[in-house]
Amino acid sequence: MSGRMRERGRTINRKLKLLVMCLAIPGKILKINDQLATVDFSGIQKEVNISLLSDAKKGEFVIVHAGFAIEKIEEDVVTDIQGYLK
């Protein structure tokens, strides 16, 4: 069983994760109301506090931990990894 979650251009295979109290999981911002955003996690929507982000826009994906978004998920960031793996 795996649900697929699109992280802005990158598909993540959302296999069965497990019982971690503090697992940070990715969600999509549907709506912003001041410091709170409605974030969608594979069909479950909840309110998330976005005051720890310097900016956030509707449609962006964020990593959420213990009720707070801690960072945005950026697509296709270029790093030295690709070269190093060759």
Binding site: A24, A66, G67
Partner: protein, 343 residues
Amino acid sequence: MMKNIIEKINKLAEEIGRNINLMEVCGTHTQVISRYGIREILPKNIKLITGPGCPVCVTAQRDIDAIVNLALAGVPMATYGDALRVPGFFGSLNEAREKGAQVFDVYSVTEAVELQKKIPDLVFFGLGFETTTPMTAWGIQQGLTVYSAHKVFLPAMAALLQDKNINIDGFIDPGHVSVVIGTAPYDKLKIPQVITGFEMEDVLTGILLLLKQIKNKDTRVLNQYSRVVKESGNEKIQKIISDVFEIGDGEWRGFGVIPKSGLKIRKKYASFDAKVKYKNILDKVDFSHSKDPAGCRCGEVIRGLMESKKCPLFGKVCTPDNPVGPCMVSVEGACNVAYRYSK
């Protein structure tokens, strides 16, 4: 894709030849590695050791005893789930609740802030590293009173490297701590490192990158989790943390005091610091018993010096149902993970 990575890992391990110790230091990685059975498919000379990545596990017995005493003295306490079950010398928070103390299990600091509207004396027990510290800092800025056992993670990694009882060849750095602090702080450790995500492919790629560095005698901090971890980290979070907290000594289970590893609430927020507000209760507590329970080897497990299964209490006296130490309490603890995934 995975097969390719595993083949490359096998090839590198053979080329390196000698025994290699890689350490993961993140509670979530601990779980993911056991859950996916990653250790079972690694070549025999590559050992994956669990380090002090579990925030509940590394919380000093003294801090547990302090908050349990506050609870028993009538101070309403709120904290994250697993922390309620850690058995201190005076019992756990859950046991304090059974004796009539007001103890609340919250999933988020926002719940604690809401709760405080109904219970003005509420104290939030803040524990964990840079991933959970910002939420606590935000809470304090909203007027929440906090007992801080928060820690800065890097000094513990440096302490591990100083420990002559263990030889670490590379670290899988903690994913979400890195989201906050960025990649630069790890450079000073001068050892191969990789920051990875939490999918199976992420972790395997991370191991591959470490082995490549080891073979090439390279010591870099490679960021495989770049979709979330920025080089400079999350600067807004860093500002919020430094507005509320300052660095002091930190007491860790297993390590004892590590200088410059603890986060104390700054004087300007002293009225929200439970250690100041309830100094009269805390001063009366006898902390001389605040050490690991008799026979408990969590201190060694946390530092990667002992495998969970080798602890004489593991699975017999100490189980998730009847835990002796925090490594068995927390779902991110090495012993709890080992127990749940043992066949």
